[in-house]
């Protein structure tokens, strides 16, 4: 408990210090609870998520950093490895490949990389995974772009 708090506090200070160092990631700690974080990440360019801003919710266990943080998308996203309803993310480093040397910042980077490189063979979103696995890249991209427009971009007008 104390360890995780100290570690999170250090990460918080690091985030404050390097604000703007990574323009694609904005990590914000909950005002009253250091175990709750949210992050805004920009959809990577040359993907259907380009131009969108996606919100992530971090729930950090007390055993952090020995246990990985629980991360899910708050913004709807059409991606084979993200559950369409719950926003749950299927990513190895959030499960068995977690290392205590990772930080919340590096988790965000990993998620951005996952957005750019989906793994259709372990899908949480079967529709999306099936489109990719059947080779319908265009269908996948247009669906993903549509949801990016709908959910991850500021409404116009």
């Amino acid at each position: 408990m104390q360890t995780s708090r100290a570690r999170l506090f250090k990460e918080y200070k690091e985030v404050q210090r390097e604000k703007g160092a990574d323009p694609d990631i904005q990590l914000v700690c909950d005002d009253s609870n250091i175990f709750k974080w949210t992050a805004l990440i920009k959809g990577p360019s040359d993907t259907p998520f380009e131009g969108g801003v996606f919100q992530l919710a971090f729930a950090i266990p007390e055993q952090y950093p020995l246990q990985p943080p629980q991360v899910r998308f708050l913004t709807k996203i059409f991606h084979p490895n993200v559950h369409f309803k719950t926003g749950e993310i299927c990513l190895d480093i959030l499960k068995n490949a977690w290392s205590p040397a990772w930080t919340l910042q590096s988790v965000c980077r990993a998620i951005i990389a996952l957005m750019a490189h989906p793994e259709p063979d372990s899908p949480l979103n079967c529709d999306s995974g099936n489109l990719l696995r059947s080779g319908d890249i265009r269908g996948y991209q247009s669906m993903a772009r549509m949801y990016t427009r709908l959910a991850a971009m500021p409404k116009k007008g």
């Binding site: 570690r7 205590p100 990772w102």
Partner: protein, 334 residues
């Protein structure tokens, strides 16, 4: 003799200034500071040894206010402040005179001729012996070291110190010789001060800005220093016993990082602990916790071996190399 040395010494002024500027611009200044620190520590232990011995006792009456040799060493840094206190500290001044003899040493090496010990020894009878002893120590050490890499830093520090008390004085006014010939106790001090201002006031003015903000001790701009160990009130540190505060400095330079897992500071045992061949370091506490759970190295995710490699734990002197290996291991981190 003394006036001779003054004219000698005033020659390298611009030279020294240039060097100082270069150094400040140089990012490797930190590395040099590391070396400097190690050397300082050696010097300190040497001085301590002698200080407790017979050499310092000779002028014990001068140092009624000082607590001992360690304080005296510490006072090297405080010199400026003490001298600024005014006439009350004249005696102090006279022994402080000898402690910064590291600065004449660097001059020594630049000039190759000027012997600081003799400069001061001509003036005061009681302090001359200790001045000789002190400067002798340093010269020896410099010779032993053989590496001139940090001489400029010595100089820069001495300049910053000298700047504290000598700023109001005009940079280039060699003292009239009659001052020195009429030397009693106080005349000696004036002569010494003038000598110093004559030699180094110009670089001092430039150096003050670089060293001053964090109390004339080390450039704050160096990375990693402010990150983990900022000095909230440096004035406290001054009054600490010399050994302790030196140890603090060394800690800052040699073991600046904390455990990447729990963010606690690594102590000596931790920092000599190398549990995995990949070089990922962590504290013993976190290592134990990881062993209780999945037992894989956070750096490479390979299972920990049962016989951890003991790190190259060398308390003395090896601090610099040690620090380098650590930083490289941190860079290898994912």
């Amino acid at each position: 003799m003394v006036s001779d040395s003054i004219t000698n010494a005033s020659i390298p002024c611009p030279n020294v200034k240039d060097l100082g500027k270069k150094k400040r611009a140089n990012r490797s200044a930190k590395l040099k500071q590391c070396k400097l620190d190690v050397r300082r520590e050696q010097w300190l232990s040497q001085v301590k040894k002698k200080g407790c011995g017979e050499e310092w006792t000779g002028d014990g009456l001068h140092r009624d206010a000082s607590n001992g040799s360690s304080e005296n060493v510490e006072s090297r840094r405080e010199r400026g402040r003490v001298e600024a206190n005014g006439p009350g500290s004249i005696h102090h001044d006279s022994d402080l005179e000898l402690s910064p003899s590291n600065s004449p040493i660097s001059l020594n090496s630049i000039l190759g001729s000027n012997d600081s010990g003799t400069n001061y020894s001509g003036s005061g009878s009681s302090s001359s012996s200790s001045a000789d002893c002190c400067s002798g120590n340093i010269t020896e050490e410099d010779d032993e070291g053989g590496d001139d890499g940090c001489l400029d830093d010595w100089e820069a520090m001495a300049d910053a110190l000298a700047a504290n008390d000598e700023r109001p004085k005009p940079p280039s006014c060699p003292p009239p010789p009659q001052d020195l010939t009429a030397s009693n106790g106080s005349g000696m001090i004036v002569g010494g001060e003038n000598l110093r201002s004559g030699t180094r006031a110009t670089p001092a003015a430039a150096n003050t800005r670089a060293w001053r903000p964090d109390d004339a001790f080390r450039p704050q701009s160096l990375p990693n220093l402010t990150k983990h160990h900022s000095f909230p009130n440096p004035s406290d540190r001054r009054f600490v016993n010399g050994g302790i505060s030196w140890a603090g400095c060394n800690r800052i330079f040699n073991v600046p990082t904390s455990c990447p897992i729990c963010c606690e500071d690594l102590d000596l045992t931790d920092s000599s602990f190398l549990p995995c061949l990949c070089g990922f370091r962590l504290c013993l506490f976190c290592h134990k916790r990881i062993l209780e759970e999945d037992g894989r190295c956070p750096g490479c995710r390979k299972p920990y071996e049962h016989n951890p490699v003991e790190g190259e734990a060398s308390v003395q002197g090896g601090g610099l190399t040690y620090r380098l290996t650590r930083s490289s291991s941190l860079m290898a981190r994912p």
